[in-house]
């Protein structure tokens, strides 16, 4: 019994190693890339389109809509990053229906890596949108006293992001493992279904939280058209 797919190591050469996390991540990446490529291979502006393409379009447009609803004005700019987060986490949870598969999101290394990416992307988008001064100023809002708290908040929420996803995915796998030893019939299936649901919910949560962080970084005290309108 292992807590993380990191512990399943297929190949190791000193510092370098190839564990189940990385391998399954590659599998997911391959499926996503090849699937997208296959589906979007014969793209045209025709009104008639395949079911798979409709599915992809729904996913893409829904993601875009969600980003916009959270408050990001130019969703197309953030869509690849946030959309990839959602798709990766969701697919990682969805693939648990295949036996022998270990979700890479069940590894704290993966969730930490994703959280780190968000941790880096948030100030990056903020600076891109508002410039260095504008972004850094947000750390001393509303007063200078808040600076340490803001920094702590930034770090803690990244940690929370990583641990939340890891805990949920790992616990799902753990519960199924434990249940299999106790009641090998019926119950694991129910738990599996529940696991799929929590996986989807976690994917959504991870995606929406990241969006909110980025939105907060890019929007705070920036006089957008709406703010200008209110000032007038």
């Amino acid at each position: 019994m292992h807590l993380s797919p990191d512990e399943i190591i297929f190949w190791q050469y000193g510092f370098l190693k190839l564990n189940a996390t990385i391998v399954f991540t590659w599998v997911l990446m391959l499926v996503l890339a090849v699937g997208s490529k296959l589906i979007t291979r014969k793209l045209s502006s025709d009104l008639k389109r395949s079911r798979w393409r409709n599915l992809l379009e729904i996913v893409v447009t829904m993601t875009e809509k969600q980003i916009e609803e959270v408050g990001l004005r130019n969703p197309k700019k953030y869509l690849p990053f946030l959309g990839a987060l959602f798709l990766f986490v969701a697919l990682a949870a969805l693939f648990t229906i295949f036996p022998g598969y270990e979700p890479p999101t069940g590894s704290l290394s993966t969730t930490a890596a994703l959280a780190l990416c968000v941790f880096v992307a948030t100030p990056l988008f903020g600076i891109l949108e508002r410039g260095w001064g504008g972004y850094l100023k947000s750390y001393v809002q509303p007063t200078f006293v808040m600076l340490p708290f803001n920094i702590i908040s930034e770090l803690s929420r990244t940690l929370a992001l990583a641990v939340r996803l890891f805990g949920n995915m790992m616990s799902g796998a753990m519960i199924i493992g434990i249940l299999l030893t106790i009641t090998p019939f019926i119950f694991p299936i129910v738990m599996k279904a529940l696991g799929l649901l929590t996986g989807m919910v976690q994917a959504y949560i991870f995606f929406i939280l990241s969006t909110v962080y980025i939105a907060a970084a890019t929007r705070v005290s920036k006089p957008g058209p709406e703010a200008e309108h209110i000032e007038k």
């Binding site: 997911l28 996503l32 890339a33 793209l43 893409v60 959309g83 993966t110």
Partner: protein
């Protein structure tokens, strides 16, 4: 150890690659296709709207033209009907006039023919009647027609009485002109004397008489003096006969209607008395 730093780095890299892959293979083409499709739909909708507007315009134009055409057709039809009516009336009037003219002409011709026929009949009848009478008288009574006529005339003169006689007497006294006795034939001298004698006797005076022969006085004798007349002639009989004949001609479908040869019925006020075909009448 839950956290493996190499795996973290590898996963971060993997994720960044995934982001690029997704951007390259999924989001870009899909969004591009969606945008294109939306543009196309918008364009098609706009086109459809434009076409609809155009169709509406064309439909309205067509309707307007149709209406105009209908109105024109109605107007033309009405005008044509009016013209046809007028023309018909004109033609009818023309035909009627022509028919009337023709009819009048025909009537004239017929009347003329009728008249000439009547004249001819009168002439022949007169001739025949004279011939027959003359012959009958000669055969049966051994006397001539003229003789008998003069005798009858003389009797008439003698039979004059009352107002007529006085009227004549008055005229004969006042008038200086001789009395005119006209006859259809030349009166022989004994007849003339007879008439003279009768006159003298009737009016108890010497009457100047002038004798004239006038074929118009159809086989008769008449005495005229200043508007008054005493006469006997066959003309009255002939008129009666003529009337009967023309009635026969006019009513060929009523052969039963037999005209009676009564000179009195035709001569009216001329009739003096009984069956005598003589008249004493006022001449204007």
């Amino acid at each position: 150890m839950l956290i493996d730093w190499f795996t973290i780095a590898a996963q971060a890299l993997n994720f960044l690659i995934l982001v690029w892959l997704m951007k390259r293979f999924l989001y870009k083409p899909i969004l591009h296709a969606i945008d294109e499709r939306e543009q196309r739909i918008a364009k098609e909708l706009a086109d459809a709207d434009a076409k609809k507007v155009e169709a509406q315009k064309e439909s309205e134009e067509f309707e307007r033209k149709n209406k105009e055409f209908d109105e024109q057709r109605d107007a033309l039809l009405t005008r044509a009907t009016e013209e046809a009516k007028t023309e018909r009336q004109r033609l009818l009037d023309e035909a009627r006039n022509a028919a009337e003219v023709l009819h009048a002409k025909q009537r004239d011709v017929m009347e003329r023919e009728q008249r000439s026929l009547n004249d001819e009949i009168t002439r022949r009848t007169q001739k025949e009647v004279f011939a027959i009478t003359r012959k009958i008288l000669a055969d049966l009574a051994g006397t001539s027609l003229e003789e008998r006529i003069c005798e009858v005339f003389r009797r008439r003169l003698r039979d004059l009485d009352g107002e007529e006689k006085e009227g004549f007497a008055e005229i004969l006294k006042t008038s200086s002109d001789p009395v005119l006795v006209r006859s259809a034939f030349d009166l022989p001298s004994e007849q003339r004397d007879g008439i003279q004698h009768a006159l003298n006797e009737t009016f108890s005076a010497e009457i100047h008489v002038r004798f004239e022969t006038e074929p118009d006085v159809i086989s008769g004798v008449e005495l005229t003096a200043n508007g008054r007349k005493v006469a006997w002639s066959i003309a009255d009989y002939l008129t009666s006969l003529e009337n009967s004949v023309s009635e026969l001609l006019k009513e060929p479908s009523k052969p039963e209607a037999e005209p009676e040869a009564e000179p009195e019925t035709q001569t009216g006020p001329k009739a003096k008395s009984g069956t005598q075909p003589a008249a004493v009448e006022e001449v204007e």
